[in-house]
């Protein structure tokens, strides 16, 4: 594989320090209309580039990808701004795709892995953008007490967050599980790194939920998400779960 292609792939399936570019772009884009396509599309060129010749990915690159993933997942633990957190989780998750490529996953499967991470993140981005519209920022801890103020929104938030951090039945869970499954016997250190990343996501995700959902609500009361919008989200949750179950059939 050409080094240029690799460099480009490291840009789209972000490896540190190229990941800074993605996070810079993502944080500058304040609208959900931009963030959602970015989250869905950004990793795809990287996958195409890697898919053309995966044999060139050596141990060093995989190690680099895992370190990037751990680094960003570790950073999510202290981040409270939800848009920044979304970007960091996306970076951490997409870096893990290098492992899947390294293990020789088919292109279709790689796409499934990518969407398994990106779709919940896209849903999260929509909710975060809504919060930013209302509070001018989605900084957990300063924005608190969402459960009392917007119970519907909170419910959606909790489920989306669970989907993002790889809770059972959601596609990200099966994606992580299949990666671990494929590698645990041959290279347990990689499996350990993935588990560590997974743990850090869960820790930071639940911490954010705690800061955002409980506590005193804001002085100014904002309207809760509409019922129709909530129904759309619930429908998408069902689709995600269906996708997850399909992945469990295909990959496990």
């Amino acid at each position: 594989m050409q080094s240029t292609s690799l460099l480009l792939a490291a840009f789209f399936l972000p490896l540190f320090p190229m990941s800074i570019v993605f996070n810079f772009v993502f944080q500058r884009a304040s609208s959900a209309w931009i963030r959602v396509p970015v989250l869905l599309v950004w990793p795809l060129p990287g996958l195409w580039l890697l898919e053309s010749d995966s044999s060139q990915i050596g141990d060093t690159l995989v190690l680099w990808a895992l370190l990037t993933s751990i680094l960003y997942s570790f950073r999510t633990v202290v981040v409270k701004e939800l848009s920044v957190w979304t970007g960091f989780i996306a970076t951490s998750a997409w870096s893990l795709l290098w492992t899947a490529v390294y293990l020789g996953a088919r292109f279709d499967d790689l796409m499934m892995h990518a969407f398994a991470f990106s779709l919940p993140l896209a849903l999260l981005a929509i909710l975060v953008a809504r919060l930013e519209r209302q509070y001018e920022s989605a900084y957990a801890g300063v924005v608190t007490g969402l459960a009392q103020e917007q119970p519907r929104m909170t419910g959606l938030f909790v489920v989306v967050m669970l989907a993002v951090i790889g809770s059972p039945l959601f596609p990200s869970f099966f994606s992580l599980l299949s990666n671990i499954n494929n590698v645990v016997m041959v290279m347990p250190s990689i499996a350990f790194a993935i588990v560590l990343v997974w743990l850090l996501w869960s820790w930071s995700g639940i911490r954010l939920l705690h800061e955002l959902v409980v506590g005193d609500p804001a002085v100014i009361q904002y309207e809760d998400i509409s019922q129709s919008m909530a129904m759309l989200f619930i429908l998408s949750f069902f689709l995600l779960v269906a996708g997850g179950l399909y992945m469990s059939e295909v990959m496990l």
Partner: protein, 1044 residues
Amino acid sequence: MSLSIGMKAEIRSLIFVAGETIPLFWPMRSFIHHNPLQGLEKLSFKDAIAEGEKLFHGRGFLHRNIYQRYYNEEKISHQSLSFLVEKFLSQHEPIAGIDIHSWLMALLTKVESPLTVDDSRCTNSLASSNDIAAVIRGEELCESSQPDVDALTQKLCGSLLNNSPLYERLDSLFDTEIGEELDELVIKSCLNFFDEGQSAWGMPNRKDGFFSAWREVSFRNLGILFKGRRICEILEVSEDPEGIIVYVMERLNIPKERWMSYFRRELSVLHGWAGFIRWRSNARHYFQGVQHPGDLVDFLAVRLTLALALIDDRARKGIPSNLDELQAFVKKHPMQACLRHQLYGRTINPRWAQKVEQAILTDNAKKIDELGLSHMQDKRVRDATILAKSVSRLAECANAEQGLKTIPDENLSSLLFIIRDLEQQEGMIWLEAMEATAIDKLLNAFQDTAPVSSDKRPFVQALFCIDVRSERLRRHLEGVGDYQTFGIAGFFGVPVSFVELGKGTEAHLCPVLLTPKNLAMEMTVNEFQDSVAFTVMEKAVHKLKETILSPFVTVEAIGWIFGFDMVGKTLAPRKYNRWRSGLHQHKPHTHLLIDKLSRSKADSIVRAVQRAVVAQAIELEFEVPPERIKDDLVRELREAALGHDLVTPLLLEQLKLDNDQARSFIKRLRKTYHINPYDARMQMERLGRIGFSLEEQVVFVSQALHAIGLVKNFSRFILVVGHGSQSENNPYESALDCGACGGNVGEFNARILALMANKPAVRQRLRNQGVNIPDDSWFVPAMHNTTTDEVELHDLNLLPSTHPIYLDRLRGNLVAASRLCAQERVPSLDFISDLPTADNADKQALRNAMDWSQVRPEWGLSRNVYFIIGRRSLTKTFSLDGRAFLHSYDYRVDSKLLLLENILTGPLVVGQWINMEHYFSTVDNDHYGSGSKVYHNVAGRFGVMTGNLSDLRTGLPAQTVLADGRPYHEPMRLITLIEAPFDHVVNAIYRVSSVKRLMHNGWIRVLIRDPQTGLTHIYSNGDWQEYHAPDNPDMVKDQEALAL
């Protein structure tokens, strides 16, 4: 560190004074309603609320929107509110061209949220009135000059460096989260030490006291060592709690003159635990307190030690570790401190949070200062815009939009000042308006006619507790037949310590203000076995659940039994509980031992006990069968042990002991078996407490009858009705029992009074006093179950043979009154099934009492508002909707004021505690109440916590005072009305200092209805005034609920 005795005493007295503001917390087995701000009752109600906000962070009034709802429902009259606003305005200069009264009325009644008053989420406004005026006129805001850094530093130092604990200030500047961690460690330490049998393993060395036991464990407690690595060094400093306290305060550089306020703040953080420890250390009769002593000095030493260890731990990362370092930091970096304070205090605008966090992390002073300035400018514009918008909306509500745009700056400034002042005082304005409306409604409902006295002997006279729940039953009972009812504190004036059958401890059946001198015991002639098979099995299963390993096996082996229990309790609670109660042994008929023992009788009992103990000792130590232990030997040994006779030939002969062995055994008898003169004296003293002398019985009965004005025309039946509640799975059960009986059921007090009053000797003496109780009058004790409204008669086996013939009629009337009561009360409760009908209300109530998932078995004393001391004829003709404490009182039989003084000292003060407990639990259930029951867990068997770890929750749960998150209880101060001549009442009040203080400081509202002049007087603004209730033509008196 070794402290002088003087220094130790000084520390103890500082903590004693600091702890006085902490409300006492009684174990929940006998829940005592109390005023959460009891320690602040020396202040006026308004000032105490402000102090309470500082100490406990609790609100003192409802939110405005709830008062507005009351206003719209006419529970607050327009007239009262308008009058109070007018009164408020009399303190301010009028503003030319503005009808300020309309503005303020519009503000209070039409605008939901306060405009100016900061709440916990807002910081002080940076916008000036010129800024607001500019925004209203649509002008650009002029550029602000640079902020005054010195002023900023000073302001910040003022708010940061007040009396709050150092770690709180560090948390708000460095996000160190020490406070949270510290609370967790302190709570765990308290749970370990104060546990009363919930834990399988107890903390070691608890008899040495809280601090000593905790100190020993802390040297090897990994949980603590992990979080505060330097704790061992701190603990090495001193073995005494006082020494540690001094060391920590000196290390933190807290000036000595501020120690007491610092201690007060520390104690108020976990005021539930502090209140429990404070109560416990003063409760001399409390067994656990004697066994495992601990006081506030220990508690504070533990807390301060842990706090210092955590601060030291964080200080390794470079944050200040004492007050001086913190002050230096703030002075050196005022802008950074300001931004940190807003960010970590969660008061910053969310838009700035990320930028400020990043700037702080970069630690670039110039960048931080620039960011701080931009942030302040943005805040100023934002504040001005928000306030201008609010003022415009207010102008719209007051129909003064046009005037607002042309208002001069100075007038706008005055207007904003008045609005700000009103919003600071509005809680009191709303409260007083609400109380005035409630007073008007009560006075309008009173009969103006003088009470009609009748010489006809009623079928039954009934003495009920003054509890608000008795009002309904009394009203219905009076409605169904020829009944005369009276209200008296539910302990019926007999303070008694009581030992129930099968229980080994004394319960004080009287208000907590009193300490009973006499002891009564429940006894049975039947053989009472505490444990039949089912009870034993139940206990065994509970034991299995509580140990460490057995639950794993238990679940597998007998888990299905619990499933059976669960299905039964959930699906058919009434039937299942009836069936299940059949499995338990029923309590046999019992007698109460209430007569004093003569000295010879007591002596004989002590001797009998000593002989039995000596016989047991011989049997145990020498394995002699009982039949071989002769009376002579026992007598000889007893005499020897008591030191009366030193020769023990039978002992040597029958037990084959030599002299040394005999001496050693006698020594053991004295020491181990307590056969010695001292213990004998103690036993005699204890036996001396049992029962009441004839004189005492006469005094108690006479006092009770005189207090309610029942001194002639006695009926055939005189019911003495105590009350209690019934609920399942409810740690707050005793909160629903009788407060006058110390949170216990009133059954035993009723039985004791009835026994005394039925005694011929007592009646003879009463006759000499002019109280002639006819021979055919019989006092019958009864129990009113406030959850089911049932009334059960007791001690019917003692009834004279002339009375049973009337029992059917009595029972029939009681059942009718109970059913009517249930029909009135039950619809206000939540039910799983449909709303109850007249036919099934009593069944629904019964189900409610047995349903283990029911979080609100009854409303208890919720909605209490009145305390009426006077004759029943005053309130008999209308319903008080279960909202009034009714104490019968006839001033004509109390020329010396003693009876009224007694009512004021005991029942009224208890009523005020109950009222204030409900008031504060309603206005701020999170801080003064105990939150939702759903999340409660029993802690140590004496309290509840929210979740798995929290402060002990004091106050009432949300389900007792709120319905669907909104107040069910209408929080008002107790409106006390006394029916008696004006001078008579005033003299009595001024002789009871506690009540005088409550009245002066506005903790109760006192009214006097003078039956001689027909005038009503109210104590207001430090003086007595005549009160004239406005006529209300819409008021329908008879039988209409006072839906206030």
